[in-house]
Symmetry: D2
């Protein structure tokens, strides 16, 4: 079966051309003017922008949490992602301290395999680095195609590794050709502040915010960059939110170091004033928390400076009832917010239509860099001959409004309720199949594949 | 007439695909697998890399200097460039202090028009910004398609403008949609050191180097970035050479500012030890001078960090006899060295084959960014449907040696004599015509066109 | 004649002791408990703080300006200084461009000698550095006891020297054992902004402020520090006002450089909101202008960090009628404000009583560091055996209010009208003579001596 | 009993005067010219420098370690200190994890009380901060006169506290009016490197050095400064050794923070090349290790910039036989080197005579700042009326050579064997008693007193 997408304005991270795209099977085979349709299904893209499928490298689907799970399954989550132009996600496997990486991989695969609608991969979160864990790294890189290893500098006793483990992991991951990613906040300081606020009876969502001040992120980012520099292991900071943390990266640049930086769409668009809404602030309880307007400016600038490489979501939705677990105590509010469906359109609307970033930069941070950094390029992340036919058609001028009533994520509130967006995803193709058209999903549960990834490089 | 380039590995700044390219007339019309040849001339690119034509945005051809001229004319210079994979150059028109911009444009056009073999454009160097000059800016941007305005913070009395003029120019250029570029060194300090060295009888080429210490460049770069930030005018630093200057840019990044940075191939590869060779050092007398090994490391890192955007040459060749004008006094050595022909291959060899940068990054800094920053994208700088068919086929494995005996530049020495290079340009196409093949140039004098450029943006 | 000051709490920059001070002639001869009075006049200092006489190293008395003069003569100015606890000042001789240093010295000496009530010295402002000027430097250091050379990076055409002159001057001053001080603002940028505002009809005092944004000072401070580092000449920045400029110094500290920093009392206490008062803002039209609250914080912190070494005034008073010269055009308002009388008490009140600095630090920045940096220590700036008996008795608890009605400066408005001050100078002694007592000055015009200064060092 | 020290050149941190000092009992009562001798013992100080007694705020005497003790007792250690001009030391009480602060205080007091010859105090090292520990802080400050609390960011499982404890401690110490001091190195990274080197059979003293690279100290210093800034608790970094760490402090200065910095004499004078001497390098095995020449430059500059406030020793001597415990494994070498006797003379010789620092600065960092920062000023640290008569007479021109044969410390090697010193301590007075004269100690064991200290301030 083949598809011919006609007359779209095709945008890649470094291209801008009006042309047709011919797809055969799962693959793009030609881009050109007036390509013959043959027996291909023709999709008219006149007036539309044609992008590579979005890649969200930071999501948490069906994630076990305090006896329950994040509310989007691999099915609902990847389907919602497709609605919003994201054709692939990377989720996180969490090692249980005291247990093996492999065991966690099996557990996560059991939930995802045969369930996902869109394509997916996993980062392997190493929460207990020891001699046994060390032996498993090479197999993940060479055989499982899982080449990125997530670490936590917070959540002591559950997820956190100390700096000794971090340096040890970095040396092993470097040796094997992988990448270490990090949740970079100073967990000890945060634990202190949480305990202090609770002891003082300060229990509202606002105190979630006040327990994770900018310094906790700046400090840890600086520390992570120092360890990455010392070991020479490629490093990647997830969900960087603030000026202090980006300045730590900028300072590290003076030592000729390159550490990749991801921010998330919410840190570009929302700010901490939302925590002043009493318990409604729980909708945006996530870690790190939302920051200030000055931080938004810093992040947009960082994208244009080439220092912020990726815009993700850290999608981790919980139903309002689940959020209510923390009604009496902010520290019990499940962390996370729903965004997997909106990242692509929001970044387009605020970034490109808002005049903050170019079309090429949009594709770079939403599609291409995630693919490159995580070892899937050029199969994913661009529109090239031989690439997977993951394609998004977007009408740049169509305005619409986000709402829990209309979104496709399995969560009963929207973090962006009522927000106006300029630019709407019209058609999405995943590996040659029309996934989304006219607001309908045409793919079945299980269509999504696990994508094996290659060894990584610190040069993209 | 059409061309079909078959089976090459096509690399753009964000693409990597094995495919055919079909060219009709001057334009690329299709990229795909197994494109039908029709009556097109077929060029087999199997095993070759296929790049966009290189763009060197910093050259000086036929430049008047002390009663003589730089030794490459627009003919010999652009032809040599083509031999080395560079299909377009941007030269500098120099306003004469006291005279108009337009008069200088006419003078430069007279030398270039009908002479160039490859495509070209001009930056307009503003050396005397006053009320009359101010009135000319808009016309250059809107009508002449000359949107970048070069300034000098050195060469007082000849080319230098002071900071008052700089800020005034920036405000006007910003208003008109242009870009201010700068030779950022502290000319006053340099003039002092030159005079001091001469007074002390220190007259060898080494003292050219010692008269332009790193601080003179770091200081001026910092100052330029500050003025660009204050005015909001997009800025671009030409031929940045050293750690101190790049750190000034990195520091400016913390103020959320983006200033574009160009380095030149020689600053990545050569170092100041060459000035210890007595008068032979005159071959590399240029401004700024070559720096230290630590600066090379900084520049390569800056490329990977996304902070160094362009690799150019500052090509300004002089015959050895011309260089001899300064035998008794370094300050009389004509500044500049020949590199227009070698930039593309040297950057490929040392950058890509040397494992320092990726293929995509190579294209970004050698082709795409110059086109984007200077308003010629996507017509130039990439391989896309509708783009000019400026195409380079390079054999990544062919090794060869640079020499004045074999180069095509009109200069009787090589700054890279005997240097081994891995990767050789085999075929070059300019606007659909085979320009270089088998080491021969097939284009005539005058084929090269003046390319009008668009308004610029600080978002690329 | 002798004096015995009994039972005061004697504070120096590193001492804190309750004791008696015995003065014989002009000199302190003993400090101790229960010193015998002999035939000495006894002054009871119980409950008072006893400080070294304040030194204000930045004043402009009887300064020629646009056909008139700053309104305090050496008589009225030094007398007012004494009233406020400042026993010595350093004024500025301004070389006339095209003329010699010596000629200016003669002119200034003619106005000061035999006129001053308090002690004084001069900085020599070099506004035209050339081969002739260069020859004069050594004589000023060795014979005149004038070892500090002031430069201006602003006021082109009148006072400014360019960077070539600056570097040349620094090398000569270093060779001779002197110090280069600087008014560090980018005059070219400021000239641009002044002209622009005037052209736009923006003529109120507010535009004086808006014509000298922080960047103009930060940039020049960074540039000056770079030149000082390159030449190795000790440097001193006068009237540093803002975060950007102090950060430039802090950044220079990373290169192991030490550059001395002076701020003025007004930059610690007043802010730019005063410019919003229509023409009344003219009272505070000075260069640099008042800054923001965040800058005040930075300056106080800089004092405690040891990076801001001196608090001066840049006292340069003009009668309201003189200020009115700029009623229609801010650029015609004579620059400067009256503060010579209040610096000591204001710094005590806001710094020490306000809990911002220690008593020792107060003496360090108001007395000792000026003496050390400018080569008068230990004769001046401390209370030691053999030091000049320049002594201030201050009641730390007496509250009073500043006003033009009560001040002793020859100016008809107060820049601090109505400001409450905690701490009052009660008695002042200059070289063993009671200068001020009970609010009366007991010294005659001409008592003040010109103090020859020693070669300087960058180690204090 | 009284003493009259005649005609010395008396130097304090801000004074320089030739005069006599009269001592009655333990106290200075007068400073002046030609003071009457009365029945006082007269000491002729003509031609000598007269300094306040040195204070070494970082020593470890009789410190329990692996079943043995550091080789200097409070008797031998404080006596050796007196020989070298140091009249007071501050030692460290180490809390045992799981045990109370008080219990440790009792243990340490038992060893020191009645034993010391010179005066002393203790820092309280908090190695286990919990609810019980928290309750003890106030008592130490208010009743015991122990106002500084030492922390370790290294030595996990023995001395280290985590950042949660650190922040908690800081808040409590701030509340009580104390100061938190820190051994700032990243213990986790160091533990990793030690284990790695041992696993690789790299067991020589050189690997002690290579296990503690600059980054481990820079990182921890930055982190400590961040926590100090966040909590507002005054902070003090002990034994800072390197450029990276001082730059962290300089960067913190930009946030208007002041954190006190101590370096030690060995980091100013010795460098890591000593570790290349096979096992002899064990003599200088200490933590942090010696660094590079560039770090020495940074530290001297830091002193002149006012950012390095104190020069101490971290004196912790071990006999050669004790050092041999680590012959087969660097990690078993007892850490520390003997310096308590030499600090004052070495700093004078290399600092003052070497032209690197002024006489005043010498006193500031060797005497006055330790007294001020740790709450003993003006009783200790200066020469003022009412101050303890702790006085050192030093002949600035006498040259001598350091050696284990002649030193007074109880250790059988010298870390400075054969080093020439210009300037020799001739006479030392402690609280009015001649302690050292003609190379003999005239004080008995037990003369030394425990000095209660006051609440501290971050303004000195
Ligand atoms: Zn996270
Ligand atoms: Zn996450
Ligand atoms: Zn240039
Ligand atoms: Zn050039
Ligand atoms: Zn000034
Ligand atoms: Zn002034
Ligand atoms: Zn330690
Ligand atoms: Zn210690």
């Amino acid at each position: 079966m083949s598809l011919l997408i006609k007359n779209g304005r095709i945008i890649t991270a470094s291209g801008d051309q009006v042309a047709d795209i011919l797809v055969e099977g799962e693959t793009i085979v030609a881009i050109g003017r007036n390509l013959p349709a043959g027996n291909a299904r023709v999709i008219d893209a006149s007036g539309l922008l044609v992008f590579p499928g979005g890649i969200d490298p930071h999501v948490h689907l069906d994630m076990p949490f305090m006896g329950t799970f994040s509310s989007d399954s691999y099915e609902t989550g990847t389907r919602a992602a497709l609605h919003g132009g994201t054709t692939m996600v990377i989720d996180f496997i969490l090692q249980k301290q005291g247990d093996s990486l492999r065991h966690a991989l099996e557990e996560w695969s059991a939930r995802a395999d045969g369930t996902a609608v869109g394509d997916y991969s996993f980062h392997m979160a190493v929460t207990d680095f020891n001699e046994e864990t060390k032996k498993e790294i090479k197999g993940f890189v060479d055989e499982e195609g899982i080449t990125s290893f997530k670490t936590f500098m917070a959540y002591k006793g559950a997820l956190m590794i100390d700096d000794r483990q971090m340096v040890g992991l970095m040396e092993e991951v470097k040796r094997c050709g992988g990448l270490v990613t990090v949740h970079a906040t100073n967990g000890d300081m945060i634990d202190y502040l949480i305990a202090k606020h609770r002891a003082e009876g300060k229990l509202a969502p606002l105190y979630h915010y006040l327990s994770q001040p900018e310094v906790t992120e700046a400090e840890a980012s600086e520390r992570f960059a120092a360890m990455s520099r010392y070991t020479g292991c490629p490093g990647y900071i997830v969900h960087l939110t603030c000026e202090g943390a980006l300045n730590a990266v900028r300072e590290a640049a003076k030592c000729n170091q390159h550490v990749f930086v991801e921010t998330c769409i919410q840190y570009l668009l929302l700010d901490a004033s939302l925590y002043e809404k009493d318990f409604e602030g729980a909708k945006w309880v996530m870690s790190p928390p939302l920051r200030e307007k000055k931080d938004q400016e810093t992040l947009w600038a960082g994208i244009n400076q080439g220092l912020v490489n990726v815009v993700a979501t850290d999608h981790c939705p919980f139903m309002w009832e689940q959020k209510l677990m923390g009604r009496e105590d902010f520290s019990k509010i499940p962390n996370g917010h729903p965004a997997i469906e909106h990242r692509f359109e929001l970044l387009f609307s605020e970034g490109v239509q808002g005049g903050r970033i170019s079309l090429n930069r949009f594709v770079e941070v939403a599609c291409t860099n995630p693919a490159k950094i995580f070892g899937m390029f050029p199969r994913k992340g661009t529109l090239g001959i031989g690439s997977d036919a993951d394609i998004v058609l977007l009408d740049p001028n169509e305005e619409h409004t986000l709402s829990a009533k209309t979104h496709h994520m399995n969560v009963d509130y929207s973090a962006y309720e009522g927000r106006a967006v300029k630019g709407k995803v019209k058609t999405v193709i995943l590996r040659g199949q029309v996934a989304i058209d006219n607001g309908e999903c045409h793919l079945k549960k299980g269509y999504g594949q696990f994508i094996k990834r290659s060894k990584v490089t610190d040069h993209i």
